[in-house]
């Protein structure tokens, strides 16, 4: 894998994804996480949410994809990823993922990333490590 062009300060291609209404159901099935706050609108409202919310690990998977796709799609290129989940993500709203190289190391690159829906930062302080 080549990390060519990923010098300190370089931005990885921005990823924009709008999860459809039923995405949380498909992600629940794919991941095995059937917490009702992600799939049952009535339950979600009963616990004070505006509606079903996205799985945090789904949003993290988008951040992971932004990393691997920036270097050609090889899953071995992502060595490490750490995120903090903050504002809740909602289906049917565009997610924008921005990632920047903050350091080049001997065998890789350290990144910082953020995932937002409008003003709402659903993932912040993302720190990743790409390896060549």
């Amino acid at each position: 894998m080549s990390l060519e062009g990923l010098d300190e300060g370089a931005e990885l291609p921005e990823l924009r994804v709008t999860p459809d209404k039923y995405l949380p159901n498909r992600y629940a099935g794919a991941s095995g996480d059937f917490n009702p706050i992600h799939i049952d609108p009535e339950f979600a409202r009963q616990v004070g949410l505006p509606g079903v919310i996205l799985h945090g690990l789904y949003s993290m998977a988008l951040v992971a994809r932004a990393h691997t796709h920036a270097v050609g799609g090889d899953p071995r290129s992502l060595a490490r990823l750490r995120v903090q989940f903050r504002g809740m993500g909602m289906p049917e709203q565009e997610i924008v993922i921005q990632t920047k190289v903050v350091e080049r190391t001997e065998h890789g690159a350290i990144t910082r990333s953020e995932a937002t829906q409008g003003e709402n930062r659903i993932i912040r302080n993302g720190e990743g490590e790409l390896r060549a």
Binding site: A30, S31, H69, P75, L78, R80, Q84
Partner: protein
Amino acid sequence: MPVSTEAVGKSFPATQYEVGREKIREYASAVGETSPVHHDLEAARAAGFRALVAPPMFCVVYSAPAVGAAILDPDVGIDFAAMVHGGQEFEWGEPVCAGDLITSSAKVVEISERRGMGFYVFESESHNDRGERVVRGTWTNIVRGVS
């Protein structure tokens, strides 16, 4: 109710997960992974993988059963209705391919209380059937209103 830290250090029984080709495709499609190595066996082999390869974040599929048991353990004492996923870290080793048998274990590494919130940190480790580590995870869950 203040948090109890008695469960810190507690380990949970290992779980096993056999990785299936269609499960990789299903997961990859759900998260929008279009890279052919996750869908097309020939593309995966051409890229040097022994079988269809999973995206890195597929680790949640095979390590969640071990971590789930830890989160739901009565000794840990999480109020599930008040819990949110606060943070997550994964460190990947060998790639995971269809046909791999993955063994995962989990333990409680930290329980603490700050500003009326309980912080519960779990660590998981998963190995393939050749004994190689495929991922290590640190899962942080936050419970509101603990004091």
